[in-house]
Amino acid sequence: MTQEVLVEAENLTKKFGSLVAVDGISFKIFKGESFGFLGPNGAGKTTTMKMIQAVSPLTKGKLTLAGLDVTEHGREIKGIVGVAPQEDTLDPDFTVFQNLIVYARYFDIPKEKAKTKADELLKFMQLNEKRDVVITALSGGMRRRLILARALMNEPQILILDEPTTGLDPQARHLIWTKIRNLQKNGVTVILTTHYMDEAAQLCDRIIIMDHGKIIVKGKPADMVKMHVGEEVLEVLYSEEAMSCLRQYFPDARFDVVGDKIQVFADKQRGVLAKVLEEAQFKGAVIRDSNLEDVFLKLAGRSLRD
């Protein structure tokens, strides 16, 4: 991968009145990579996306895309960016095909070219059978796919996906993931937000975890898991005895009690936990690979945000 910087933010800040939605964050996104913004609701992910797509003005800081400053070159930037917003902004007054054609017109794409491109994208998104159907007749998954197709009409260099699979069933999610990976292979730089950790692990080369408008950690998903929670987690059914016994085995570990389970983040080499389990018989004990969700909950805490 060439390390050409495509998006660069310095001290990026957004305030709504007294609320600081994005609090002086800095990051670089390289050409061709897939970059994820994770965080609980209200962390500032969507606000950051809106600034990157040159829709929401910055309160402070500097933000450039392909060398263009968002504050001065909004129009040019919108021309090279494709956006699949979180909200359904499809036009219910039009059919599937017309949605793409009308959208292409805003980009000055000539009509014949738009028609060819629209049919190509409907095929790519497996929507060609729905070409002349009105939007209201589509399922949630189809609508998401159409929103993604629409974001590709202008052949964007940068694709912004704000929670691309929220609320979809597993089949629809996997289909969208496959399509996104296809686009990555073709060199499209993807910026996405999600609060599904498996989605981030599946799709992103690098991620940022945000909370309260700040970046709390950034890096590659696998490194992040290793660094913050270790490779494996031991889960044991909760009891006083189990707890004190575990403390003896793992004096340095972090213990999390979730419901009726104790989670042990011991940060040991792979296999160490299994040995302990052979010695001590814990009730309901399971060893599993740790994942981004563990990192996320460790760093952002378990309290509800909404």
Binding site: S56, K78, T89, Q98, R105, Y106, D108
Partner: protein, 264 residues
């Protein structure tokens, strides 16, 4: 103070305003058959009920039979209704429920251009609907003047004025039901008191002044009637000039208010 001047900042616009206009035109063309009938039937009903029915009991006004008096006013009323409703209820639905504006501003079209395109479409609706009404009143045997050819361009101007006023309301209402206020406090009084169904001069002088200055349908009716009857008096030119001054003010205000609402 700064925030007040920012409401009158003249926006930068490009040819892209027409892309927004075309979006609305495309939707309109899909349903024009259902759009067409009400605009045709409504003036027919008014002409029958008021022109022929009520008109039989009314003395001629300035030497005109009553139907001749109200027919041009009905054309002006259709300009107001079609543009005002387009840029209140219809624009609000596109903005709030359909998120159409959000989708468009993610493309190289700016929010200023979206709002301008919406208002130009409102003006176009005024032109279309009032031309239909014009055809109806001609079919009813009203109107001989060749100046009537100037009514469609006038309809665009009047439509732009009412679209701009409407868009200012759209920018500030919290929800769609709130449109009942401008509807009952502004549009309905105007419909009745703007020299539409009786001459303005039969009202107290203070109301005449209020109507001239604050009820723009008065200006629209005066000019339309002048063109329809082929009598261009000084008052017609004065009313036209007033609309030419007020329209750009509301136009710019509407854009800035909408920008304030939508760009966070």
């Amino acid at each position: 103070m700064n925030s007040v001047t920012s409401l009158f900042r003249v926006p930068k616009l490009s040819y892209r305003v027409w892309k927004v206009w075309m979006r609305n035109k495309d939707v309109f063309m899909k349903t024009y058959k259902t759009n067409f009938l009400p605009s045709l039937l409504e003036p027919v009903l008014y002409l029958l009920a008021l022109g022929f029915g009520l008109g039989g009991f009314v003395e001629p006004i300035d030497g005109q039979p009553y139907i001749q008096f109200i027919a041009p006013a009905l054309v002006a009323v259709s300009m107001m209704f079609s543009s005002f409703y387009e840029c209140t209820f219809a624009s609000f639905v596109r903005m709030y429920f359909q998120k159409t504006f959000d989708a468009i501003i993610a493309t190289p079209v700016t929010i200023e251009e979206v709002i301008t395109g919406e208002m130009l479409w409102g003006a176009t609706k005024s032109l279309i609907n009032s031309t239909i009404v014009l055809a109806v009143i001609i079919a009813f045997g009203v109107v001989p003047s060749p100046l009537l050819l100037l009514i469609p361009p006038l309809a665009f101007l009047v439509g732009l004025l009412f679209s701009a006023i409407a868009m200012c309301f759209t920018a500030i209402v919290p929800n769609i039901d709130t449109f009942n206020y401008p509807n009952f406090l502004f549009i309905t009084p105007m419909f009745l008191l703007s020299g539409t169904f009786f001459p303005l001069t039969s009202m107290p002088e203070i109301l005449q002044i209020v109507a001239q200055v604050f009820l723009p349908l008065t200006n629209a009716v005066t000019v339309t009637r002048g063109l329809a009857l082929g009598s261009i008096e000084l008052s017609v030119l004065f009313n036209l000039a007033w609309m030419l001054i007020v329209t750009p003010v509301f136009f710019v205000l509407a854009i800035n208010l909408m920008k304030k609402r939508l760009i966070k």
